[in-house]
Amino acid sequence: MNRATTAPRTTRTGLCLTGVTLRLGDGDGLITALDSVNLTVAPGELVAVVGPSGAGKSSLLAVAGGLTTPDEGTVTVDGDTMSTMKPAARAAYRRDHIGFVFQSGNLIPALTAIDQLRLVNHIGRRSDAPDPQQLLAAVDMADKAHRRPHQLSGGERQRVGIARALMSRPSLLLVDEPTAALDRTRSHEVVQLLARETKRSAVATVMVTHDTDVLEHCDRVLEMVDGQLPD
């Protein structure tokens, strides 16, 4: 099994996207999903990216998270240029430095809440991983540690998803529509939790959302239109 770990971070400088362009498709179907995007997110800062469907929000997360490489520009996390890494190295970098919070939590159906967190530790074999039980307690889910995703509400699943993303002590937290399918109250609770953990863990957080009601908890709000972000 690939147990290579990337070098431990020394100084956190957050996320920096410089002149990032991403084109999808080919021929007549070629579209520019990201168009010369520049974005800097400091550690402990929660940045919300809003915009209509197809504006390029998910592409921004994909590039920032090393799920794909940009056609132009650079992506750095804590000074490490991720956009030039080979796929295996990017996967290892994701494992060690980046946390993802997906829509509806995207938890593994077979695992209990506590095992969702243990899995991260198992994949990464980290010696400095936080205690999963304490992390669940931090997101108010300690009493439901042994429940599986289908036994949790949407808000609870998102809480577990946030705790799971923080298990690797990430430098960068990428959050994809965390309030989709949640009611107004639960949406506020989840984004408040994200804001709190962003500060507490000193993680640079980018949240993509359609939900304008929760933006008050964010440090900055950027609107993405046609693959472009305001400088």
Binding site: P109, A110, V120, I123, D176, A180
Partner: protein, 375 residues
């Protein structure tokens, strides 16, 4: 195996169904293995027990039915005896006969005509060895069927009366019929269709079915040279099994069934894991996005398949052994540890190959699919 074990438990009903199919295939494999070994024993155990390196048949004899067609003479036996790589060569008679026991029960026998005191003479556990001209040493299985030492056996049509004087300690059968060893002179009369007091042509008294040849210790038998010198067509002992009635057809049929079963088991396991992997595609994308390597996920998936295959095969083999013990007396069925272990191991290996062909899809899962907009 962190994830593999937990998914096995979570989706236990699905995996139980899958495991049940593998276990049933394992039961079939064990039964077929036992039947195959049993049929082989029933067909050629009499030949296997002979300390023979090769049989030399009359020149040009085709293997199929060679034991019933071939006739060799004393000169051919002498020619083989003169070979430098031959330790011993003896005339060997083989004839299937119908007979009746003293109590009138019909019995079929494979009469093996051998010279008393030769290397072909059978080891006897019950009674005495070959010697008297009307003495008969039968296979242990004939005793299991009701024949007893001291019983009289009458050959049908000829009326030749023989007495059971001994029995072997193991199964000696040929063409699914119990072997009965008789002195070669007696065999020659029966083969010629003559009664004990009949006049027969002189050449009949030197004839046999084949020359049983035993190589010198450590020597390699030059069959071609021996055949040229003796005017025979020889085959090794193992090759001679093909001359046993029905042996080739039975073994090839069973082998074909076993090959099909192995192929089916690999395909069934492959089909299950294909569906299972497709079902998990989004989950796998999430794991890839979290940084799980392809190797980690492939190993996890293969470990899952291995656990299922080993457990299901073990259950199936044990059930097969149980069923085999129940049917053992009523059919040619012999369970041999090496063949049962081989069947179980093949089932696991082929199942794992089938699973691997499906699980390899994991390597192609794109972590981008984990993002909502890319689903």
């Amino acid at each position: 195996m962190f994830l593999a074990l937990r998914e096995l438990w979570f989706a236990r009903s699905r995996f139980l169904m899958m495991g049940g199919v593998v276990a049933l295939i394992a039961v079939l494999m064990v039964l077929l293995s036992g039947l195959s070994s049993g049929l082989v024993n029933d067909g050629v155990s009499g030949l296997k027990k002979l300390p023979v390196t090769a049989f030399a048949f009359a020149e040009g004899t085709k293997l199929d039915g060679a034991f019933s067609r071939s006739v060799v003479g004393a000169a051919q036996v002498d020619a083989w005896r003169a070979r430098p790589d031959v330790a011993a060569a003896e005339p060997f008679g083989n004839l299937l006969v119908n007979a009746h026991s003293g109590s009138g029960v019909p019995i079929d026998l494979a009469l093996f005509g051998v010279n008393s005191g030769s290397f072909l003479a059978p080891a006897v556990r019950t009674g005495v060895g070959l010697g008297p001209m009307d003495g008969l040493v039968v296979s242990r299985t004939a005793l299991d069927a009701g024949l007893r030492v001291g019983d009289t056996v009458t050959i049908d049509r000829l009326g030749t009366r023989l007495t059971v004087i001994g029995a072997t300690g193991e199964q000696h059968t040929f063409g699914h019929v119990d072997v009965a060893y008789v002195p070669l002179p007696t065999w020659r009369l029966i083969h010629a269709g003559a009664r004990a007091d009949s006049e027969v042509r002189s050449e009949v008294l030197t004839e046999a079915t084949a020359v049983a040849v035993k190589a010198r210790d450590g020597a390699s038998l030059d069959l071609a040279a021996g055949d040229e010198a003796a005017g025979t067509t020889s085959v090794t002992l193992v090759e001679s099994f093909g001359a046993s009635p029905g042996y080739t057809a039975e073994t090839s049929t069973l082998t074909l069934i076993q090959v099909f079963l192995y192929a089916i088991s690999g395909l069934v396991v492959g089909a299950f894991f294909t569906v299972w992997t497709i079902h998990r595609k989004h989950e796998l994308a999430v794991l890839r996005a979290m940084g799980a390597s392809r190797t980690y996920l492939l190993c996890d998936g293969l470990a899952q398949a291995l656990i299922i295959l080993v457990m299901a095969s073990a259950v199936g083999v044990l059930a097969g052994l149980g069923v085999g013990a129940l049917v053992g007396g009523g059919a040619p069925f012999t369970l041999e540890a090496p063949s049962v272990i081989l069947a179980g191991a093949l089932l696991i290996v082929l199942g794992l190959l089938g699973a691997a062909s499906a699980i390899i899809r994991i390597a192609a899962v794109n972590p981008l699919a984990a993002l909502g907009g890319q689903r």
